[in-house]
């Protein structure tokens, strides 16, 4: 047995010197590790599920548009004269998971008022298949795929212009041939997102009706909106522009980032608190053996050897605890994958309103691989810091004499 293997054996044996104390240290560390992995996956899956729910309602994961459709600096601004066709789309497989939209700012006149709104022409059947927009129709119906000149208005918008189901409203806008576009549309439904701004600023009609209104040829449109929430990353296209939801609604993206970062911060605090407790226990454990360290030194063990043996002892304990913690974290994540948590448990039974939309998601846990090595590394780091002080104290206190 070489010297290093003997050192490991010696350190391993020392873990059984006070087995109950070692067990408590391993349990506290592994519970901490497991909880942190669970918590980070919860935060990540929670924000991911909320975002998925949110994006599925209307916004989509990314928009494929003419390269100059969205303003390069401010994606809130767009140029309706920049249109596209499917012929320009080099990856035809993207057609399956996306839906076409034509968008234009218009004025809509009800009985007494005229107000501005963003009118979006939708591919009705595809939209029903890919998005959950149709679920937001709480009064009336969603658009009929075979119909034309139907319009859905936001609930608040309809109240403000005093439009009722079955009414005809006048829509006026800028056609893309330069003329003034105007037409009558029949109100078939009201959008109800549970409150929020979008109920005041959105209206929807059939894609063909929007194209006709805007004098757009049937093959031209503004956006292909993808709802592919599972695929990470954006497709790379040469001719067309691809804009992610993060760029389109950065305020929401930053909120999600903030939640993720604050969760990490909270986890670091948890590890620090556990480490402090561990440091205290290690100090007691080391001090109890002070006389023994002295005897070891007398019979020929160098200070370096004793220090290494203590470090390996803590390292073995930490590794066992981390392995257990990773396993516990993984099993917990798996459990909540099959038994998703209703987010209302954390909001007092109230739904979340985000970006003007109501969201009531079930949080299904997804195991993010990076957490399973980042958390152990973080714990190893703090564990190393934890043992420095007890080690220094015990070495300084050693009197090296009979």
């Amino acid at each position: 047995m070489n010297a290093f293997m003997y050192l490991i054996k010696f350190s391993y044996r020392n873990l059984f010197r006070a087995p109950k104390r070692t067990l408590i240290m391993i349990i506290s560390l592994s519970l901490g590790c497991g909880f942190i992995i669970w918590d980070l996956n919860f935060a990540n899956s929670g924000s991911r599920e909320i975002m998925k729910d949110f994006l599925k309602q209307y916004a989509g994961v990314y928009h494929i548009t003419h390269a100059e459709y969205y303003d390069s600096k401010n994606k809130k601004e767009f140029n309706t004269y920049r249109t596209m066709t499917d012929d320009e789309l080099e990856k035809k497989e993207l057609i399956e998971q996306s839906t076409r939209r034509a968008v234009a700012p218009v004025f809509i006149s009800g009985e007494k008022k005229t107000l501005g709104v963003l009118l979006t022409g939708l591919e009705v059947e595809k939209e029903k298949k890919l998005s959950t927009l149709y679920k937001a129709i709480k009064s009336g119906d969603f658009l009929n795929s075979t119909g034309s000149k139907e319009i859905i208005l936001g609930k608040k918008f309809a109240q403000r212009i005093e439009a009722k189901l079955g009414d005809e409203v006048a829509v006026v806008g800028q056609a893309l041939d330069g003329s003034v576009a105007n037409d009558l549309f029949k109100v078939v439904g009201f959008l109800d997102f549970g409150g929020g701004d979008l109920e005041e600023s959105l209206a929807f009609t059939q894609l063909s009706s929007a194209q006709e209104f805007l004098s757009l040829p049937p093959d031209r449109f503004h956006q292909r909106v993808s709802f592919d929430v599972e695929t990470e990353g954006l497709p790379k296209l040469k001719q067309l522009g691809v804009t992610s939801w993060f760029d389109l609604i950065p305020e929401i993206g930053y909120s999600v980032q903030f939640i993720d970062n604050i969760t990490w911060f909270a986890c670091i605090i948890i590890v620090m608190v556990v480490s402090l407790g561990l440091s205290n226990t290690l100090m007691i454990t080391f001090f109890e053996r002070e006389q023994e360290f002295n005897s070891l030194n007398i019979i020929g063990a160098k200070t370096k050897w004793i220090t290494f043996s203590l470090m390996i002892e803590v390292f073995i304990m930490g590794t066992v605890a981390i392995l257990l913690g990773v396993l516990m974290g993984y099993l917990a994540v798996k459990y909540f994958y099959y038994h998703p948590i209703n987010i209302e448990l954390f909001t007092g039974g109230k739904p979340i309103i985000m970006g003007g939309m109501t969201i009531v998601p079930l949080v299904r846990f997804y195991a993010l691989p990076q957490y399973f090595w980042q958390v152990p590394l973080m714990i190893y780091f703090f564990l190393s810091l934890t043992m420095i002080y007890p080690l220094i104290r015990v070495i300084r206190r050693s009197k090296n004499a009979i």
């Binding site: 010297a3 020392n14 063990a301 160098k302 009979i402």
Partner: protein, 229 residues
């Protein structure tokens, strides 16, 4: 090889005015096969002299040599290695590692020395045999009596075949019968292998058996007696 302390002084200073002599003008020559006891009341300086011989503490003045080599010029780590290479230790309270069996406790310094597996086995078995515990190697210290633990401690000290064994009050924690057995074991090892022993003790039975007795008082060797056992 000769251990030589020449006009050694060890002064413990807590303040400029408050100096305590742990050892004062101590000169001792230790030869191979010596069986020597440092005798004196508590606080007389016996343990300080043992610590000086072991190189655990350095003298304030005077020289400390082993085979002509100046121990005081060695670094702390070099002195630790020096102890490992040339000395064995027997403690009053045995100081066995509770997590290791008797066999493994004896193995410990041999592992530090870097001996091969075969050599370690041979030496540990030999040492256990010398102290009469060859069937108790797999027992942990708590499964052994005080006398048996001290025997393991002696086996650990002799397994590396050191030139010098330093024993601090080795019989102080033992009953009369066991103490007598341990003394006889020391004598046997000294006779059979010409091992050099230095004890600090006030056990009269041990004092009666040693060839050289150095009486220590206030850090000084006040009297030296040599007799044939």
């Amino acid at each position: 090889m000769q251990f030589e302390l020449s006009h050694v002084e060890k002064i413990y200073t807590s303040s400029e005015e408050n100096k305590v002599f742990g050892a004062r003008d101590v000169s001792i020559n230790i030869h191979e096969g010596d069986f020597l006891a440092l005798v004196g009341p508590s606080g007389s300086g016996k343990t300080t002299i043992l610590n000086l011989i072991a190189g655990l503490i350095l003298p304030s003045s005077g020289s400390l040599k082993h085979g002509g080599k100046d121990i005081t010029s060695l670094t702390l780590e070099e002195r630790t290695k020096h102890r490992l290479d040339y000395m064995g230790f027997v403690f009053q309270d045995y100081q066995l590692l509770p997590i290791l069996t008797a066999w493994e406790n004896i193995e410990f310094p041999l592992q530090l020395k870097g001996f091969s597996k075969t050599e370690i086995k041979e030496r540990v078995d030999w040492a256990l045999n010398q102290v009469g515990l060859n069937k108790m190697g797999n027992r942990f210290p708590k499964q052994l009596s005080g006398g048996q633990q001290q025997r393991v401690s002696i086996a650990r000290a002799i397994a590396g075949r050191p030139q010098l064994i330093l024993a601090d009050e080795p019989t102080a924690n033992l009953d009369s019968k066991t103490a007598q057995e341990i003394i006889e074991l020391f004598l046997k090892l000294n006779k059979d292998f010409n091992l050099t022993f230095i004890f600090s003790t006030h056990d009269q039975r041990l004092i009666d058996q040693v060839r050289t007795v150095l009486y220590v008082k206030d850090g000084q060797i006040s009297e030296a007696r040599t007799h044939h056992v």
